[in-house]
């Protein structure tokens, strides 16, 4: 479902140039759970941002469900973010002024389906937070905030979920709860790409790739 062909990303110009990604090839099939590992600065977050259209690439192609998405204009990208791709961030990235439920409702609000409140409630139930629906992010723990963020990602029925260090800010126990939630999502048929530097975390994935200096080192099946 996702194909990455010869993708490079170069930051800066002239002598200050930094190569974040160097001719990366990658293929992800529907239903995959892929972990992208590597030390910090290896380009793994950049890869995720490029896949999701949050950042633009210097050269190469990103093909999602048979269509190139690396050269799309803003409006087409908006359409992709509204149904095909959803994100889960290390920093949760919830809006502080909205309650947990309202944060989950946010994607529906933007695509004009704000009346589907039940769907948001259902997603909160799925991540086990229905009782905290009216709480603001500041009143929730890190693990709870991340579960709200996962519910927000799920509410628009995305075909691909991108997770950037989703357990990076958590203790082990909370992290394990979040990861088992990802396992569940993958079992439900969601395609997941997760960036992590933690081998323990990566073990939840079906497949692991390792990035170093912007290049893929190894590709082995697991589990």
């Amino acid at each position: 479902m996702l194909e990455i062909k010869n993708v490079s990303k170069i930051y800066g110009e002239g002598t200050a140039q930094v190569v974040a990604l160097n001719n990366v090839f990658l293929q992800v099939n529907k239903g995959d759970f892929l972990a992208v590992m590597g030390p910090s600065g290896s380009g793994k977050s950049t890869l995720l941002n490029i896949i999701g259209g949050l950042d633009n690439l210097s050269s190469g192609e990103v093909i999602l469900e048979g269509k190139r998405i690396d050269n799309l204009d803003e409006n087409a990208l908006v359409a992709i973010r509204r149904g095909k791709i959803a994100y889960v961030f290390q920093q949760y990235h919830l809006l502080p002024s909205l309650s947990a439920l309202e944060n989950v409702l946010l994607p529906l609000t933007f695509c004009g389906a704000s009346r589907e409140r039940n769907k948001a409630v259902e997603m909160l139930k799925k991540v086990g937070l229905e009782k905290r629906a009216e709480h603001k992010p500041s009143e929730l723990s890190g693990g709870e905030q991340q579960r709200v963020a996962i519910a927000r990602a799920l509410v628009s029925d995305p075909s691909l979920i991108l997770a950037d260090e989703p357990t990076g800010n958590m203790d082990q126990k909370t992290g394990r709860q979040i990861l088992s939630l990802f396992d569940e999502l993958n079992t439900d048929g969601h395609t997941v790409i997760m960036v992590t530097h933690n081998p323990e975390t990566a073990r939840h994935a079906r497949e692991i790739i390792v990035l170093q200096d912007g290049q893929i080192l190894d590709k082995t099946g697991r589990r």
């Binding site: 949050l54 633009n56 920093q91 990235h93 809006l95 609000t109 933007f110 628009s156």
Partner: protein, 396 residues
């Protein structure tokens, strides 16, 4: 949940920030509303003064006084022409006066505009004393002599009533209800005027029809006062129009002492409005500054909203909604503080000015404030949507 609900929740979380942004809007609108309120009161005061000057035009018979001279020797003057104007000229005079005013002010409706008050002066003897009796059109005369106050009795209501000036009443020993004979026709004294310090004090006023009948002057008047009270009223043009199209009369534009003051007022108003404009522009920059700061501190939030599917237009809408709320809050406070400013500063600028709050300025204030806030918001909001989502997360 709707977009505006996101905005309201966000504003409630950042109350102080939003109030701070509204301050710039308040300062701008406050100055404009304050100055407009003072200017309005100043103009009203001059209008009041203008009213005291009575007619702006007087039409009199075209009598020519020819100086008879023989070398250096003056042989006196010779009066040529009629002493009266025919009443038939009245409709034509009204047509010219109203027509010119309509043209000058762009008025469409066809009611009467100018006050036109004909008069007939008859010098006669009452109780053996020589008195000037003036025939007037009671309703029109009252509109011209706005300063007339009745000391005793009532104003002219019926054809056989008379209104006496205070000095005339004293000289003739007149009381309310007394009858006086005008060439054999009796009229009843209905009222006595308050002292005004003008020649009115020495005269006796009766309805013009009564006087015309009594002295056999049907259809004749001695002079006509015209009042067209407006700053832009083309008094000179009306006078020229009457002089060129009605024979046998002469229209004279009465010198307006107040007109000069009105002109001065106009200049002061323009100067103050220019100042208000500058303040508005300065306020605009202040608002742009705070709105830019407000947008910048929410670069991350903008990134979040875009990552979950907000379009550029929706982001801009969110900021415009916020600007509208800031504009409304700023407009209300701007109106209140502007009016208060007028109450405090107005009397320092114009002596004896009576400041009143003007409700019509509230919508003006709201519109102005909203325009400022929206204008100051759209550009930074638009800029914010051009940042790549990934960069917006890195911003903080």
């Amino acid at each position: 949940m709707k977009l505006y609900q996101i905005v309201i929740k966000d504003i409630l979380r950042r109350k102080r920030r939003v109030l701070y942004a509204a301050m710039g809007v308040v300062v701008g609108t406050m100055t404009v509303i304050g100055i407009l309120t003072i200017a309005f009161a100043g103009e009203a005061r001059i209008y009041n003064q203008l009213e005291k000057y009575g007619p702006n035009l007087t039409v009199i018979p075209a009598i020519s006084n020819l100086d008879m001279r023989l070398g250096d020797l003056s042989l006196g003057t010779l009066t040529v022409g009629e002493n009266f104007i025919s009443e038939k000229t009245l409709p034509e005079i009204r047509q010219i006066a109203d027509g010119e005013i309509r043209q000058a002010l762009g008025i469409k409706d066809d009611g009467n505009i100018a006050t036109i008050a004909p008069k007939l002066y008859i010098n006669t003897e009452l109780k053996g004393i020589s008195v000037m009796v003036v025939g007037v059109d009671p309703l029109e005369e009252q509109k011209i002599k706005t300063w007339w106050r009745i000391q005793e009795g009532e104003y002219l209501q019926l054809a056989d009533q008379a209104l006496a000036g205070p000095v005339a009443a004293e000289l003739l020993g007149l009381n309310i209800g007394d009858k006086i004979a005008l060439n054999g026709n009796d009229v009843t004294v209905a009222g006595i005027l308050d002292e005004s310090g003008s020649s009115d004090d020495y005269q006796v006023f009766v309805p013009i029809i009564t006087l015309q009948k009594a002295f056999d002057k049907q259809g004749l008047v001695s002079s006509i006062d015209i009042r067209a009270l407006c700053i832009a009223c083309p008094v000179e043009v009306i006078a020229d129009g009457i002089n060129s199209s009605i024979p046998g009369v002469r229209a004279v534009a009465v010198k307006q002492v107040a007109a000069a003051e009105m002109d001065m007022m106009d200049k002061v108003n323009k100067f103050m409005l220019a100042l208000a404009g500058i303040t508005l522009v300065v306020g605009l920059f202040a608002v742009i500054n705070t709105m830019m700061a407000s947008v910048n501190e929410r670069i991350k939030d903008i990134g979040i909203m875009r990552a979950v599917g907000a379009s550029r237009n929706q982001i801009i809408k969110i900021f415009v909604y916020e600007a509208v709320i800031i504009g409304i809050v700023g407009g209300i406070f701007g109106y209140i503080t502007g009016t208060l400013l007028a109450y405090i500063v107005g009397p320092l600028i114009f002596e004896g000015i009576a400041i009143t709050y003007i409700p019509q300025y509230l919508p003006l204030s709201l519109t102005l404030a909203t325009l400022i806030a929206v204008a100051a918001t759209v550009y930074p909001a638009f800029q914010a949507t051009r940042i790549k989502v990934a960069d917006s997360f890195r911003a903080l």
